[in-house]
C-alpha cells in the first residue's frame, strides 16, 4: 500500500490551520452585526460550506460526462468523491442556514429557491447512492452513476429557475437582491476579510478532502481486485 504523499500531508496541515484561522476570524475578529447580532456569524461558514457543496456538484457533473466519454474508471472514483463531499457540505450549509433562519426569518425552514434546491440536490445524491448500492457489476454501476449525475446536474439548475419564478426571501449579500429579501446586510471591511478568508479556507479544505476521497476510492478498488484474485 502506498503511503500518503508528502504534498497531501502538507495540505492536511495547511487545511487545519486555515480552518482554525477562519474560525477565529468568523467568531472573534469580525464585528458583530448590528441588527441580527451574534447569530449572523453563522453566515461565514454557511456560505463557505454551500460554496464547497457547489464545487462538488459541478465536479460531479463534469466527471460524469468525462466518464461517459472515456469509460476510464478514474472518473468514476472522482465522481463518487465529489458527490459524497457535496452531500456532506450541502447538509452542513442547510443546518447552519436553519440555525440562522430561526431568529432572523422566525422559522427553521421556508420553501425558498435556494433552500428547496439544496434539499432536492441532497435527495438526488441519496438516490444516487441507493442506485449504486443496488448494482453489483462495477462497470454498470459506474455507467448508471454517471448517467444519473448528468441528469441531476441538468435538472437542478432548472429546478432552481422554476422555484425562482416564485418570490424569494433569501438575502443576496453579494450582488443585487430582490426587494422582498429579509435578513440582508452590508458587509464592512472586517466582515469581508472573514468572509473571503472562509471561502478560501473551505476551498482548500475541499481540495484536501477531495484528494483523500479519491485516494480511498483507488485503494478500495485495489482491495476489490485483490479479493477477486484470492477467490480465484
Amino acid at each position: 500500500m502506498q503511503s500518503k504523499s508528502l504534498t497531501l500531508k502538507a495540505l492536511d496541515i495547511v487545511s487545519l490551520i486555515l480552518l482554525a484561522v477562519s474560525t477565529y476570524l468568523a467568531l472573534v475578529f469580525a464585528p458583530t452585526e448590528a441588527v441580527m447580532g451574534q447569530v449572523q456569524r453563522v453566515f461565514y461558514f454557511h456560505v463557505a460550506t454551500a460554496w464547497v457543496g457547489m464545487l462538488g456538484f459541478i465536479a460531479a457533473g463534469l466527471s460524469g460526462i468525462a466518464y461517459l466519454r472515456s469509460g476510464d474508471p478514474k472518473w468514476d472514483r472522482i465522481e463518487v468523491a465529489a458527490v459524497e463531499i457535496s452531500l456532506v457540505f450541502f447538509f452542513i450549509a442547510i443546518v447552519l442556514g436553519a440555525i440562522w433562519a430561526r431568529p432572523v426569518w422566525n422559522t427553521w425552514w421556508t420553501w425558498d429557491p435556494r433552500l428547496t434546491t439544496a434539499a432536492i440536490t441532497e435527495l438526488i445524491y441519496i438516490a444516487y447512492f441507493m442506485l449504486r448500492q443496488g448494482i453489483e457489476d462495477p462497470d454498470r454501476r459506474a455507467r448508471f452513476g454517471a448517467v444519473y449525475t448528468l441528469v441531476g446536474a441538468v435538472s437542478v439548475p432548472i429546478t432552481f429557475m422554476a422555484i425562482r419564478l416564485f418570490r424569494t426571501i433569501h438575502p443576496v449579500v453579494i450582488g443585487t437582491q430582490s426587494a422582498e429579501a429579509q435578513g440582508g446586510f452590508n458587509m464592512t471591511g472586517d466582515m469581508k476579510i472573514a468572509f473571503f478568508f472562509a471561502l478560501f479556507a473551505f476551498t482548500v479544505i475541499f481540495v484536501d478532502l477531495f484528494w483523500h476521497r479519491i485516494r480511498i476510492g483507488e485503494l478500495a478498488d485495489q482491495v476489490e481486485q485483490l479479493k477477486l484474485k484470492v477467490m480465484r
Binding site: L123, A127, Q133, R143, F144, V147, Y148
Partner: protein, 229 residues
C-alpha cells in the same frame, strides 16, 4: 426531407411502440392497474384534503398532477420490468436498429399509456367534483408535462429495473429530477383553471417545453450507456 435511414428509424420506433400497444390491447393489465391506482389516489386525496368547493379550486391542479405522477411511475416501472423479466430487452437489443429507436419506441408507448389514463381520469374527476376540466390550455399542459415525465421516466426506469432494489428504485430516482415538470405543470394547470392571464402562464409553458427538449436530447444521447451489457 425523409431519407431512407430516417424512414427506417421511424419504422423501428413505431414497431417498438406498436409491440407494447398490441400487448397492452390484449392483456390490458398496465393501463387498468394505472387507472384503478389513479382513482384510489384521488379517493385518498378526497379524505386527506377534505375537497370541499373552496379548497377544490386551489388544489385541483396539485391533486391531478400528484395522481398522474404516481400512476406514471407505476406504468413506467411495469412497462420496463416486463421487458427485463421475459428477456424481451435482450431480444430488442439484438435487433439491427439504432438503440435510440428502442428508447423512442418505449417513450411513445409509455406516453400513450399515460395519456389514456389521463383521458379517463379527467372526466371522472370533473364528474366527481363538478369542476369543468376541459380547457384546451389545460390539455396542452397535460400533454407537455406527460412528454417530459415519460422522457425522463423511460430513461430512469430502464436503469431502475437493472438494480437489485428495482421495485422501489424508480420513484426515488425520478421524483427529485422531475420536480421542474411538476412545479411548472401544477402552476400552469392552476393558472388555466383559475382563469389567469396568458402572461402569467406563459413562463411555465416555456419551462415545460424547455424541459421536454433538454431531457429528450439527454436521454437520446445516454440511452446507449444504460442498456449496454
Amino acid at each position: 426531407m425523409p431519407t431512407p435511414s430516417h424512414a427506417s428509424f421511424a419504422k423501428a420506433v413505431a414497431a417498438v411502440a406498436w409491440k407494447d400497444l398490441a400487448a397492452e390491447l390484449r392483456s390490458r393489465e398496465l393501463v387498468s392497474a394505472m387507472l384503478v391506482f389513479s382513482l384510489l389516489v384521488i379517493l385518498i386525496f378526497n379524505f386527506a384534503l377534505e375537497l370541499d368547493i373552496a379548497t377544490r379550486r386551489s388544489v385541483t391542479a396539485g391533486v391531478l398532477w400528484a395522481t398522474f405522477a404516481f400512476a406514471g411511475t407505476l406504468g413506467l416501472n411495469r412497462s420496463m420490468a416486463v421487458e427485463k423479466d421475459r428477456g424481451c430487452l435482450d431480444g430488442l437489443l439484438l435487433a439491427p436498429v439504432d438503440r435510440s429507436a428502442i428508447y423512442f419506441g418505449k417513450v411513445l408507448s409509455n406516453l400513450s399509456f399515460m395519456l389514456i389514463v389521463e383521458a379517463i381520469v379527467l372526466p371522472v374527476y370533473s364528474l366527481l367534483y363538478n369542476t369543468n376540466l376541459f380547457h384546451p390550455g389545460l390539455l396542452a399542459v397535460i400533454l407537455l408535462g406527460s412528454i417530459g415525465y415519460t422522457a425522463v421516466g423511460t430513461l430512469l426506469s430502464s436503469m431502475a429495473v437493472q438494480t437489485r432494489t428495482r421495485d422501489v428504485m424508480l420513484p426515488i430516482l425520478l421524483f427529485p429530477v422531475a420536480v421542474p415538470i411538476l412545479i411548472a405543470a401544477v402552476k400552469a394547470s392552476g393558472g388555466y383553471l383559475s382563469g389567469a392571464d396568458m402572461q402569467d402562464i406563459l413562463p411555465w409553458l416555456n419551462l415545460l417545453i424547455a424541459y421536454d427538449v433538454i431531457f429528450t436530447a439527454i436521454a437520446f444521447m445516454v440511452f446507449d450507456y444504460v442498456v449496454e451489457e
